[in-house]
Assembly symmetry: C2
């Protein structure tokens, strides 16, 4: 599988005082609720502000360091990654996608002019000029699905398997994060050219969506609205104009042969997704 | 000093076949020349395409792996960092800022429509929809300088010290990368509010500039044109609205007290810079 890239950058304000809790094993977990606006320019050139609210987890020593020094209204910069988890519940496969922070900084708004925050219906304030920026590289778990809205706008959904390698207790481990992505208009038509197993690099913003499933329960999902998408060639030099075939003996994890089947059984069943 | 963040993402085409060379110590160095266009929207809402050409270095095993499989015209995605080097020459301090790749992927343009590349006057082709994306966090090495162009446009220049920690031969080492940055218009006025030593997080694009110095020699510099800039508070929770003072015993490198003086003597003298 292609070497994974999994980076999330957020700048927003805390919509409430963070909550600290501890796992049964004693690990500190600080939950931050960040809010901000994205400024989106559509194809007609008009812009609008879209609100986002994301929950960010900080673990261990970092959580203890920040502890209860952070209060609602504080502006923060977060660097982190998307963390996929799956589990069984009542015989059904469940999954979640969360943001785990590697780095946290308090952002000073002192000296900035204008209305810096927006207060929502719940009385929570979010940063007007938020930053919501995701960079990912991974492999498509299945062929993308191109659809059209009733207004005729093209929209393509696909899912990316993003692998992570880390060393735990001296041995190298591998974990796969599954991330849903969605592209609109021209980008949707380009995304539809990709195939299951293709490597992809994308940039986008993270959004939450909710809907009512066929069984009447409320479902939530987190996905990436794609603003840039590139298909990565399956071997070194195999896809670019004017390039040659892949060299022999490609090192593992560097544009070698894609082994996308590995681990795909972990992916949440289709019926659990909103499309 | 604030914990450094130093990430560069480029998507462009190779403007020429890469050159492989070896250092006296036997380390393989592959030099890639990438070209692309940035699509810039100015404050009046009009857009224009700006060309960029950047040299990227790949070292060691990665360089040997990619070797001569890459040819002019191939589209590549690069993830890397800005690498600052300084040396003495004829009693004068010289410095350079280069891009060092951590990761390289061949980008497949197959299935994309339209004119994907532009051929320049030298017959080299660059990617029309290039990606040129830099994320940095560090500390200002001096107070920013706000100036106005003859047309009255505000422009602020400043420099960021971005530190890097790494382990070499079992001991933790620290290196500082000095990066020049430039902001325009509203962002220039906000940048001018920052002070020497302040922590800053910025996003921008990397540009090359050249000019003729007072001694008649041609000078070159690489700097970041800033599209987003945040001031980081000097201690945990010290700067955000509604927050409290910094907790005691701040861990080193995590929003602790800023020790900006450290290492500043290494910074290139003012007269060597184009402003």
């Amino acid at each position: 599988m292609a070497k994974g890239l999994n980076r999330v950058y957020l700048v927003g304000t805390l919509t409430q005082d963070p909550e600290m809790r501890y796992t049964p094993g004693g690990l500190a977990v600080l939950e931050l609720n960040l809010g901000g606006n994205d400024l989106i320019t559509d194809e007609s050139g008009s812009t609008r502000e879209l609100a986002w609210y994301h929950r960010v987890k900080l673990l261990g020593k970092s959580a203890e360091f920040w502890g209860d020094s952070l209060k609602a209204g504080t502006a923060l910069m977060v660097e982190g990654k998307l963390e996929y988890r799956s589990w069984e519940q009542d015989g059904q496969k469940k999954s979640s996608l969360e943001i785990r922070a590697d780095r946290l900084e308090v952002v000073s708004l002192e000296g900035k002019r204008g209305d810096l925050t927006v207060t929502d219906a719940r009385g929570q304030s979010r940063l007007r000029e938020g930053l919501n920026h995701v960079l990912l590289a991974g492999n498509l778990t299945r062929d993308p699905e191109l659809r059209y809205t009733p207004q005729g706008t093209a929209v393509t959904r696909f899912s990316l398997a993003v692998n992570e390698r880390f060393t735990s207790k001296g041995t190298e481990q591998e974990k796969t994060h599954y991330v849903d992505a969605q592209a609109w208009r021209d980008l949707a038509e380009w995304a539809a050219e990709l195939k299951k197993g293709d490597g992809a690099f994308l940039i986008g913003r993270l959004v939450n969506d909710s809907w009512t499933a066929q069984d009447g329960t409320r479902r939530y999902t987190t996905r990436v609205e794609v603003s840039r998408l590139e298909r990565l060639a399956r071997g070194a030099g195999s896809g670019g104009a004017g390039s040659q075939g892949a060299p022999q003996g490609a090192p593992k994890g560097r544009a070698g042969k894609v082994d996308i089947e590995e681990g795909l059984e972990d992916f949440p069943p289709e019926e659990d997704l909103p499309f």
